[in-house]
Amino acid sequence: MDAFSNLNLYLPEIIIFLGALISIVSGAFFKNNKYNKVLFLSFMTITISFSFILFSDISNESSSNNFVNTTFTNIVKLFVLTLAIGVLYVSNGYIKSNKLNLFEYPILLLFAVLGMLLMISANDLLFLYISIELQSLSLYVLVALNRDSLKSSEAALKYFILGSIASAIILYGISMTYSITGTTNYNLIKEFSFTDKNTLIFSFGLILILSGMAFKLSAAPFHMWTPDVYEGSPSSVTTILITIPKVVVFVALVKLLNEPFFYFKNLWQQIIIIIIVLSMAVGSIAALRQENIKRLFAYGTIANIGYVLIGVISNSNQGLSSSILYLVIYTIASLGIFSFIMMCRKENSQVVHLQGLVGLSQSNSFAAICMVMLLLSMAGIPPFAGFFAKFYIFIAAVESGFLSLAIIGVIFSVISAFYYLKIIKIMYMDSQEDINIYEVDNKMYLMLLITSLVMLVFIFFANDFINFLNKLNI
């Protein structure tokens, strides 16, 4: 009766689940203005869950067989919930102006968040798989939400088919591991692999699980779906895809590698080094020729995932905390950039091409300045947060003996600075006779302001933040 005795353990997740159920039912009964009311309910749900985690002692470490809460997982959960609120808040205007304001939109996001929270705490391969599925299935539907657009349907189909194959590969790997160890529990697998080195099938399972997770992270050899899906899905959904799942899958991957597969470090280190180099190369070089804004940032994501993974292979807690730092800064910057992308509308249609940004510095200087800060941060130019993210990552790489990896990283970082700076050049230098007019939404302004301020102010807190993460014992 393990599951019932400590219900406290799952309370934040249960709150999200109940909130989603209430939202479904009330969404069906509300007569008018369904979207706004359900949106309010979802905000409430996320806030309650958030405050529950926050006020019920973050450092509370408790666990059951397949579910573990630590200080670190609690903080990641808080971050995920904050991102979810941010995404819902930003996408409000976009959703309405594109007539996507179905009341199911926030509900699906709630279910995706539920899957993510469970994934963060998962301590069992089977449970990990099921929570990945819950998250992905909600996201597949969100991608397909814009039914009138051919591109959205195409993106959804690609995402669904490739995503299911990736899930199947993860499941296959899990079955391999199970066939050797006879258990799916992380701790038991770790014990087993310490005593019994029946490596062939075990490492086969590890590789399969790792590839599936790399697909979900959109890391390089498994990145093919990323540009198409990010371009095709509605921008608000792209904002979700590019921020929250990355954090969650990364955390789940770190836990996976450091607990059940800890004694196979030599094997997975090599695989991840290949993934890192390929991701950085593909992301930086393929983005150079992109004309579509969303495709460009999709490739940018691939490159960034490469940098994030550098921290995983380093042998220290410090490496992991620099990865987390990178991920946090990257998601916040992406949130800002995508709220900008959603904001850019010209004559009732979305600006999709880079050339559509010509003359932005004159028509909307405030948004242009904020965007410059975000882009410089992404490129890793010193006073902004992105610099510190890359700085700590490279330090961790050098300290754990991956000097060549750090050098490759710096080279690709310089290459990727080119296309971030290209956007700035288009906004400021390229002149055009008729200045573009942009319809804007106040909410997105606020998000743009907040995120760019974070990028600017981070320099004062960099040291404290990294110390805090170092102490966390991830």
Binding site: A3, Y10, I107, L108, F111, D124, F127, L134, L145, L200
Partner: protein, 193 residues
């Protein structure tokens, strides 16, 4: 016992061959169902009665029926498929040979794969054993998989149910609540028409 095994497996193999060789796609689906039912029989012989039930319910009850619907609705041209088959003959043959060698290899090294799980459920059936852990050890994953089904249902509704302008739909409550007064208009026809 061994007789039944050969009966089931022979029918499975034969009907699988019939699936890919019959001219009528509807017949293929029926043969597919036959193959499923027979492999369920093999599962029962192996003592995995729960898998047999699941195979019948999921594959025969849902998947095969879905296939049947698709085949009947799409009206696939058989001859076209036949000509396409020849194009892929070579690559298909290659894959088949690779699979064959893999099977031979894995049977040759059988001792590394088969480790029977410890059976401490003497008299209990598989279904009993699953039921014992489903609501205890695996309570949480079980509930979450229910959640996944809910999301799947929600998604299907979102993606297919839509109210379009200009599509005439039946609204039963409106039909029932109509009265004579507001549906029949009596017009007096004058002398000059």
């Amino acid at each position: 016992m061994i007789l039944f095994f050969f009966l089931f497996s022979a029918v499975t193999v034969l009907s699988s061959i019939a699936v890919i060789s019959s001219r009528n796609p509807v017949h293929s689906v029926f043969f597919l169902i036959l193959a499923f039912v027979n492999s369920a029989g093999i599962f029962v012989l192996a003592g995995a009665e729960f898998l047999a039930m699941i195979l019948l319910i999921v594959y025969v009850g849902a998947v095969a029926v879905l296939f049947l619907f698709v085949v009947m609705m799409l009206n696939v041209g058989v001859d076209k498929i036949k000509t396409q088959t020849r194009k892929y003959m070579l690559s298909g043959f290659l894959v088949a040979i690779i699979l064959l060698f893999e099977l031979i290899f894995s049977f040759a090294n059988l001792d590394i794969i088969i480790q029977k799980p410890e059976n401490n459920l003497e008299k209990n059936t598989n279904t009993h054993a699953l039921g014992n852990v489903l609501y205890t050890d695996y309570f949480l994953p079980f509930q979450v998989s229910g959640c996944i089904l809910l999301v799947a249902m929600l998604g299907a509704i979102i993606l297919t149910l839509r109210k379009r302008e200009g599509v005439l739909r039946q609204n039963i409550s409106e039909q029932v609540s109509r009265t004579k007064e507001d549906s029949i208009k009596i017009v007096k026809i004058g002398k000059k028409l």
